[in-house]
């Protein structure tokens, strides 16, 4: 028993044709969407890799700074030790000169007393000569004492300046070490992020391939099924048209 109208057949035929039109563009559209997503993912991975590279360069820079400061501190401390040794040696010599000066003062005082109490002119002359000689030696020693004190003061100034430089370098080194530590932590986090992105991208790629494959299969199967139904409908419509054309 047949129960269908021309109108019904055309409604269905129209729906099938619209469907075929709708889905024919979908595989291309899906390919385009998939391509765009792959490009965006690659760009994102590239960005992370770029940030990682910048971080690694920063670490190299900070390590160079750290090494420079370590060398500066070591050299500074060596200089301070040398200066301390020089100063100690100088101080010993200064102490000897001080003792010699003191001895000479005593000697001159003693000669002076002898000179005053001496009545013999010959002996007086001799004592005067000794006093004069002792005073000459005293002048030399005073000059030496002055130069040594001056040298010692210069060493102190230099030592203080070097200690200040070393202290400053130590403070800077602590800051650099802190920055280095933070940057190394950041670098490790970036590396892990990059690894996870690359790993997940493999899933994205394979899932996109599976999806595109499903789209193509859908388009092909649906198009065939729709086409078969459409062809069958066309035959029905032709039959009805032929029937209606018959002049009874």
């Amino acid at each position: 028993m047949v129960s269908v109208s021309h109108e019904a057949l055309n409604i269905v035929k129209s729906a099938l044709n619209d469907f075929k039109t709708d889905i024919s563009a979908l595989p291309q559209q899906s390919d385009s969407s998939a391509q765009k997503i792959k490009e965006e993912c690659s760009a994102s991975i590239g960005q992370t890799a770029g940030e990682l590279s910048v971080s690694e360069n920063r670490i190299v820079e900070l390590k160079t700074q750290e090494q420079f400061l370590e060398d500066k501190i070591r050299n500074g401390e060596q200089t301070i030790n040398r200066l301390k040794e020089s100063q100690a040696s100088l101080q010993e010599r200064l102490n000897r000169v001080d003792r010699q000066i003191s001895d000479l003062h005593s000697q001159i005082s003693s000669l002076d007393v002898q000179f005053r109490s001496e009545e013999n002119e010959e002996f007086k002359k001799m004592i005067a000569g000794q006093i004069s000689s002792a005073k000459e030696n005293l002048n030399c020693l005073n000059d030496q004492q002055y130069e040594m004190k001056k040298q010692s003061d210069e060493i102190t100034v230099k030592k203080n300046a070097t200690e200040k430089e070393v202290s400053s370098a130590k403070t800077d080194k602590l800051k650099v070490e802190e920055k280095l530590s933070k940057e190394e932590i950041r670098r490790d986090k970036l590396q892990r992020k990059l690894d996870r992105q690359k790993n997940e991208y493999k899933h994205v790629e394979s899932d996109l391939e599976a999806y595109l494959s499903a789209v193509k299969k859908f388009e092909s199967s649906s198009k065939n099924a729709a086409q078969q139904s459409s062809s069958a409908l066309n035959e029905c419509i032709s039959s009805i048209d032929s029937y209606l054309a018959v002049n009874l």
Partner: protein
């Protein structure tokens, strides 16, 4: 970057299939015989083909969203 592009495509597929089903259903009051049943079965088959697509589409969107979440992490 997110899965919106794929979701939009999948929704387009689903909309096309629904439009076809609605179109066929519209003719049911005017067509009532075994031939229509065969046609309905064919359209049902088409709807069945779309399930595979939807499942794969959902899986794809999930992996894209996971990737996007990792990418958005601030370091």
């Amino acid at each position: 970057m997110n899965s919106a592009l794929i979701r939009k495509d999948v929704e387009s597929f689903q909309a096309s299939v629904k439009k076809l089903s609605d179109g066929v259903a519209k003719a049911s009051s005017l067509w009532n015989d075994p031939q229509f049943s065969a046609l309905s079965a064919a359209v049902g088959k088409i709807a069945g083909f779309s399930k595979d697509l939807i499942v794969n589409g959902d899986r794809c969107c999930a992996s894209i969203d996971r990737f996007a979440k990792i990418s958005e992490e601030r370091v």
